[in-house]
Symmetry: C3
Subunit: 138 residues, 3 copies
C-alpha cells in the first residue's frame, strides 16, 4: 500500500509535533529501498512544516510570530463570515504549505537530527484533520 489517509485528533491552536505518528504509519505501509514520502493535509486552515523537534519554546515562538504577523480579524479582511481566525488561518496555511516531502530509506524517514514534522493548527476550535501519505520509491 503506497497511499494512505490518516485522521489526526483535534488539536489546540498552535504547533504540534506529529513525527512519531507519521513514522508509525509509514512503517505500516512497508516497502523497501530509497524513495520519497509526501505528507499532505486536506485542509486550508492548517499546514505542515518541518522544524526543531526538541524545544517546546520553539513551538511557542512559532505561534507568537505567526499570530503577530498575520493578525486575526485584520481590518482589511473581507472574508470574515467564519470568524476572525479563519482568514488569518488561510494565509498562514499557504505561507507554510499544505505538504512536506521527505526522503525515505526503507521504512525510515531521512530527517536531520533536529527535524520533526509540525502539524500547524490555526483555528481556535479545530476539527479532526485528515492527512494523505504517499510513498514513491526510486
Amino acid at each position: 500500500m503506497a497511499q494512505k489517509t490518516i485522521q489526526l485528533q483535534p488539536m489546540e491552536r498552535g504547533f504540534h509535533l506529529i513525527t512519531d505518528r507519521v513514522q508509525a504509519a509509514v512503517s505500516e505501509m512497508g516497502g523497501e529501498g530509497a524513495g520519497l514520502l509526501h505528507v499532505h493535509i486536506l485542509h486550508t486552515s492548517a499546514a505542515l512544516t518541518l522544524n526543531e523537534n526538541a524545544s517546546r519554546d520553539v513551538l511557542h515562538d512559532f505561534a507568537e510570530w505567526f499570530d503577530r504577523s498575520i493578525p486575526d480579524g485584520a481590518a482589511y479582511f473581507q472574508h470574515t463570515d467564519e470568524g476572525p481566525d479563519d482568514m488569518s488561518a488561510h494565509i498562514k496555511s499557504s505561507l507554510l504549505g499544505s505538504s512536506v516531502t521527505i526522503p525515505i530509506r526503507g521504512k525510515n524517514l531521512v530527517l536531520g537530527t533536529w527535524q520533526g514534522i509540525y502539524l500547524c493548527e490555526f483555528r481556535n476550535r479545530a476539527r479532526s484533520r485528515s492527512i494523505v501519505l504517499t510513498v514513491i520509491r526510486c
Copy 2:
C-alpha cells in the same frame, strides 16, 4: 505522457484559481493507480499555492496581506531596475513557492473539499506563464 508543459494566459496581478485547468491537463495525460502530481511554475515573480476554493473574498484578502507585508518599492531594495513590483514579486514567490505537489488517484487530484490551486501573479503587467506538470505513480 507523464510530463507536460502548459501555457496560462496572462492574468491580472492577484490570486487566481486554476484547479480546473490543471485537472483537465492531468486527465489528458492519462494513467492509473495512486501517485503524485507535481505542478511547477517556470518563473520567479509568480507562485503556486493551495487554498480555499469557494470565496472570492479569500483571493482579495491574500492580495491585501501580501501587498502590505512585502511592499512594492521598499526603500531598502537594491534590485529596482525592473520596477517597484519586481523585487516584491520575487520575495512573495519564494514565500509561497514555485510548486505544489498533490496526491492523485487515477486521473483525479486528491484535494480537500475546500482546496483549490492558486496561480499567484505578482507583476502589474504579467506575461503568459508556463507550468510543468509531472505525474509519478507509486
Copy 3:
C-alpha cells in the same frame, strides 16, 4: 544511484546560489527520462528556495526583507539559549521550506530561464550543511 547526500561548505549568513553544485551532483547520479528531483536540507536553521539567478541585488534584498520581518532576538521569543539568530532562523526556515522539488529530463533540471536554487543560511556562524538529493523517474 537515485539518492545521494552532499555536503556544502559553511556559508555566510545570507542567500547563495547552489544550482551548479546541484546540477553537477544530478549529472553524476545518471539516469534517463522525465522525472522529479527532490532537494532536501537536513537542518532547521537554513532553507532552500528557487528564485532569480542573475542579480546579486536580489540576494541582498531577500536578506533585508527576512531580517526585518523576522527579527533576531524578538522580545517575545522564549527559545533564546542558542543566541538571537537561532529562533529567527527557525521561522525563516519554515517560511521558505526545507526542500524544493524540480522537474528533470534526463540529467537536466527543468528550470525557468531565471530560476536558480538558493541555499538560505540564517545563522551568523554556520556549519557545513547536508543536503539529500533524490531522483524519481516517471
